[in-house]
Amino acid sequence: MASITTPPPGSADPPAPLEWAGWALLVLLTLTVVAMALLRPTDPAGVLSEIRLAAGFDRYQAAMSDGDRIHSTVVAELRAIDPGDLEQRRSLYALLARAAERYQVAREEAEGFYEDQRAQSRLARTYLLWARSLHEDGTGKWYQRNDERTLRRARQMVDDGLALPDIPGEQRVELEQMGTRIDRALTPWPIF
């Protein structure tokens, strides 16, 4: 006669499927914490763009969208913050560098002249915004000495923008005008 035996409570038995799911969830949570600590995302849209770029799905559009998002964030923030808050402005320049990096990725992923030109135009727009802000930082009141190092960096931004081969004419003119203003600020006696 067969007897029914129940295992004593607390005895070792193989994990049930639900328990395996729990361990998998624990690994997933831990990996998410590590990824968040290392990547330090600041925006849900940025997280999606990173995933799209890493997955390699439509990398051109992902890079362009992320660059546009970062650029518009910087434009809004530059209007909101105190112009004298240089620390905050520097953190925004780091964002502009990220936007420029995204547009460079878009250029690498571009298929054909039109897509490349579109990425170049956005890149030139970013350089122009960066140079304009640096020009504001580097020039003070009439009795204050201009910060030549910042102005030279601004000039470098303009030169990088002008080096792009296929940007529209009006953007090239804007960059050249910005370059002239920076050169004037760099000259000790503009009257000569």
Partner: protein, 217 residues
Amino acid sequence: MPASHRRRALGVCLLLAATLLVGGIDLPARGYEAFRYATFGFTGGLLGILYTFALASRGVLWRPGGWLGTIVLVYWAAATGMMFRLLLPPPGLVQVGLAVLAAVGAAIIVSRRQRESAVLALGIVTVTLAVIRFALVPAFWARSDLPNWGPLRFGASADALRDFFVAYTPERPVSQALHFLALCLWVAALWLQWEPPEPAGVTQPRGRSEPSGPDPA
């Protein structure tokens, strides 16, 4: 290893991992960041290890045998470090004083005979830190500003002086709810393992429990 121990440990680790995830999210009130994730720093991490040791020695934290016990302790230390990140004020002289006080609190926990007393001491440390962090520091910050009078930049000087005491960064109100949720998850993990699963055939009377660690006397 008994399956009941394994499942209990899994539940505790899941709650502590959720504490780590939720507790690290900050929602700044100013700036372009929608959110940011911050782990605990050196001070918070050391306090986490110290409190894990203190609570484990008083039998407040259940530690299963084998490798699972090590994993559980690592999660406890990390989640407790995150708890101190949430409770300690931002860096500055105020944080220095409170971190030292919290370390003294760990010594008080080790000196308790009963688990309940140890947890009560931890609760007192937690409430003290929370009141200073969430009530005193924002009030001090809001009432210690100075205006800039033309070339006399009193505001910048006041900011520098305040940063020496506490480098406060305002956050959105919902951030407090999020951090409170993280603390609740930590407490839920503590509650889940309060009565550890007993091995087969062993019965223990319910009531005021004695610590499983060494006798403090």
